[in-house]
């Protein structure tokens, strides 16, 4: 059995490094992007098993990408987890409305995140 592929999208290099290291340690294969444009280029090459995406990024934001993914028949089945520092009232509702499958706020709980991703992959 090959390792599941995770696409991590975040403009902050430290965040990308943190999530990459964490998930690699749990047996995932990692691809990363620092903008929506980079992510779309990656998706054109390979379809990941799960996507983690930040919201606030230069250019189109993470929620815009989620809406595009869910509108595209080629990508709509991919589970998407929104990982964001925007944790105010209403931010989660906006994320769910955009079509994400899970919503995680920063600071990320590194002990729980791998389990939540595994759950999504089981469905």
């Amino acid at each position: 059995m090959t390792s599941p592929l995770v696409l991590i999208i975040d403009d902050n290099a430290l965040n990308v490094q943190l999530l990459s290291f964490l998930l690699a340690a749990h047996g995932y294969e990692i691809r990363s992007a620092t903008s929506v444009a980079e992510a779309e280029a990656s998706l054109a090459e390979v379809i990941p098993h799960v996507i983690l995406v930040d919201v606030c990024m230069p250019g189109p934001d993470g929620l815009t990408l989620v809406r595009r993914l869910k509108a595209d028949p080629r990508t709509k089945e991919i589970p998407v987890v929104v990982v964001t520092a925007s944790a105010m009232k209403g931010d989660d509702v906006r994320a769910r409305e955009a079509g994400c499958d899970d919503y995680v706020t920063k600071p990320v709980d590194t002990r729980a995140l791998p389990g939540r991703i595994a759950e999504l992959l089981k469905k």
């Binding site: 430290l14 944790a87 002990r111």
Partner: protein, 683 residues
């Protein structure tokens, strides 16, 4: 233009008599002897006046009266009737007759009433002034008439003073020319009568004299306005009349009834028909219209139907006695003021007292000689006129006072209203201002509240980002995912340190801002060399400039070597501007710190870069706390987003101001104007 009069009477004598008289008086009469003839005449042309006999061979005069009043409601109608028919007189007046004249009639009264009625309906058209000529010589009258009419006057002619008085009352001429010598009352007497009359007394009178010399004295004695010899030339006559008319123009007129010489109606009441006839004949000779009643009851009925000017009342009568009739008349407010003369054969003091007690105004003993009665009658009529005049005066005085009071009240009301209105307007406008002010304040409060919410969201976001790295990497290390000897172990510890420092910087900025916001900033001004301060900051930031591969230089005016300022705050200002410039300037760019004078008292600190520049629409948001430009830009150039807001507050606390000049794609210049000498702490 003469007035047309229709005379309807079956008696040829009466028709001819009235016809001739009306013709002579300047009317144009049409005669009819039956109802049928009268109707034919009425169909052919309108009439200014219709005179109808009550008893006509082919119909009732009252029916004809009704028809005339239906078809020509404004045409006055005078009824003629034999005097005994009291009931017919009442019926006639109730049917709508304007006048009821008993036969035998007094011609001058009929003519006078005719003129009155016509004038009441159609006021005289003014074609120049009207002049009344009074002279018994037909030749002279005609001659003078020609002269005056040729000059544009209209002329009235009379051959006696008595007739002329009546005519003057009716026509109210602009001037009267009267001969000194006349049958009956003479010229001077005529003029005196005119002067006694309230209505006529202002009418200019010219007295004609035959003789020279005495003329003027004679004329002035009589009250004439001018005198003229009968043989004067036409030019002189016209000049005289022109002269008397000039100052008199605009002479006032008063009500017709105020005239002593207007036709007066006397009600005579006596149970003796013979005596009644005699009184009637005597009084008609004086020009009165006399209405006869043979009992107290009839007299009261007549009074209800028409107005009279005086009442002669017999004491001894069957039915209602003279005293009782008198009492009833004097108790009725409608007739209370009509002069009443008790008239009896009993010559005793007791009955006189009874009469006066019953309310009579005078008491006359019956006598074959009517001189006393006539004189008393004149006196009563005159007294009545004086009373009317003085009442009119009182009324007009009261009216004037009332009007003055009313106008005063209205003026006060208008003033009060205007004042209230103005107060209301002021209050409204104040209210409106207050409302506008409140609305603006509300908008500001809402905007501030929105900014606070945005700030909290931003702060939450900004704190969570470094915490994510700190907690995440710490967990990885703690949980043993990273071997202590691996190079990543140290790298991750470095990430924790960097993020921790960023978090500290964030907290310091927020604290700074809140301190400045609350006005708690404390300035410690000291004399410093600005070049030294700038040099220190530039030294610290040179490493950052090297990282971003930008050059950092200074351009300082050497004349500014001493300023009084809080040195730590000045460093903060320079640090914020320069680190901002380095952040937004792509690799290979230049950042210059410049210091130069700004007027006598100020200096200008500038930081110029060759960075990305700021669009004009964003310039206003730059120094506003918690406002961020495009989110993408902020993320890309991470920072607390509070630096410029803090800088602005610090500069303002020093009494200075901040600003920026920028061109997108070319670069920006941020500046701070500061006073060379900062006063002791601004708190």
């Amino acid at each position: 233009m003469s007035s047309s009069v229709l005379i309807v009477d079956d008696s040829l004598t009466v028709r001819m008599d009235l016809g001739d008289a009306f013709q002579a008086a300047g009317f144009s009469p049409t005669l009819a002897s039956t109802v049928a003839e009268a109707k034919r005449a009425l169909e052919q042309r309108p009439y200014a006046l219709v005179i109808i006999d009550v008893m006509l061979p082919d119909g009732d005069g009252l029916d004809l009266l009704r028809e005339v009043k239906t078809s020509w409601p404004s045409t006055p109608v005078m009824l003629l009737s034999a005097e005994a028919e009291v009931a017919a007189r009442l019926r006639g007046l109730r049917t709508g007759a304007d006048e009821y004249v008993g036969k035998p009639y007094d011609m001058s009264y009929v003519l006078a009433r005719a003129r009155q009625l016509i004038r009441l309906v159609s006021p005289r058209g003014e074609n120049g002034s009207q002049i009344l000529i009074v002279d018994d010589s037909l030749t002279f009258r005609e001659q003078l008439r020609e002269t005056l009419e040729g000059a544009g006057y209209s002329v009235l002619l009379s051959e006696s003073g008595e007739e002329a008085l009546h005519m003057a009352v009716d026509a109210r001429p602009a001037a009267i020319v009267v001969d000194g010598i006349l049958p009956g009352i003479d010229g001077p007497t005529f003029i005196r009568r005119v002067r006694e009359d309230a209505l006529l007394r202002r009418t200019p009178c010219i007295l004609l004299t035959a003789s020279e010399g005495k003329g003027e004295v004679f004329a002035l004695d009589s009250g004439a306005d001018a005198y003229m010899q009968k043989d004067a030339s036409a030019e002189l006559v016209l000049a005289r009349i022109g002269a008397v008319l000039r100052p008199r123009s605009g002479a006032q007129s008063s009500s017709h009834n105020a005239s002593l010489h207007g036709p007066k109606k006397i009600l005579a009441v006596d149970d003796s028909m013979t005596y009644l006839q005699e009184i009637g004949a005597q009084l008609r000779r004086d020009g009165y219209d006399v209405v006869l009643a043979s009992s107290g009851e009839e007299a009261l009925a007549l009074l209800a139907g028409s107005e009279v000017d005086c009442i002669l009342l017999d004491v001894l009568m069957p039915g209602l006695s003279g005293y009782e009739t008198c009492r009833r008349i004097k108790n009725d407010p409608r007739w209370r003021d009509v002069p009443l003369i008790m008239h009896t054969a009993r010559d005793e003091q007791g009955s006189m007292i009874d009469g006066i007690n019953a309310g009579a105004d005078d008491y006359v003993t019956k006598s074959a000689d009517f001189q006393v009665l006539r004189a008393r009658l004149r006196a009563q009529l005159r007294r009545r006129q004086f009373e009317d005049e003085s009442r009119d005066l009182r009324e007009s005085q009261l009216q004037k006072e009332l009007e003055a009071a009313e106008s005063r009240a209205q003026r006060e009301l208008a003033d009060t209203r205007a004042q209230l209105l103005s107060e209301l307007q002021d209050k409204n406008s104040a209210l409106l201002t207050a409302q506008t002010h409140l609305e603006q304040q509300n908008l500001r409060v809402q905007a501030a509240s929105r900014l606070k919410s945005e700030f909290l969201a931003n702060m939450s976001h900004e704190l969570r980002s470094p915490l994510n790295a700190i907690l995440g990497f710490a967990e990885l290390l703690y949980d043993g995912h990273v071997k202590p000897e691996s190079p990543q172990h140290k790298e991750f510890l470095g990430h924790i340190l960097t993020s921790g420092k960023h978090l500290l910087q964030l907290i310091n900025d927020v604290l700074d801002l809140s301190k400045v916001e609350a006005g708690k900033i404390e300035l410690r001004p000291e004399t410093v060399d600005p070049a030294r301060i700038i040099g220190e900051v530039v030294a610290v930031l040179r490493a950052t400039a090297a990282q971003t591969r930008n050059t950092l230089s200074t351009d300082l005016d050497p004349s500014i070597d001493r300023i009084v300022v809080d040195a730590a705050r000045l460093k903060q200002i320079i640090y914020n501007y320069v680190s901002n410039a380095l952040k937004f300037t792509p690799a290979g760019g230049h950042v210059t710190v410049r210091l130069k004078p700004d007027g006598e008292a100020n200096l200008c600190l500038e930081v110029e870069d060759t960075g990305i520049g700021i669009s004009p629409s964003d310039i206003d948001k730059l120094f506003v706390e918690f406002q961020q430009l495009d989110t993408g830009t902020t993320r890309k150039f991470a920072g607390t987003g509070l630096g410029l807001a803090v800088t602005k507050r610090i500069v303002e606390a020093h009494g200075g101001r901040v600003g920026v000049r920028s061109v997108v794609g070319e670069g920006s210049t941020f500046y701070a104007i500061l006073p060379r000498v900062t006063l002791e702490s601004a708190t």
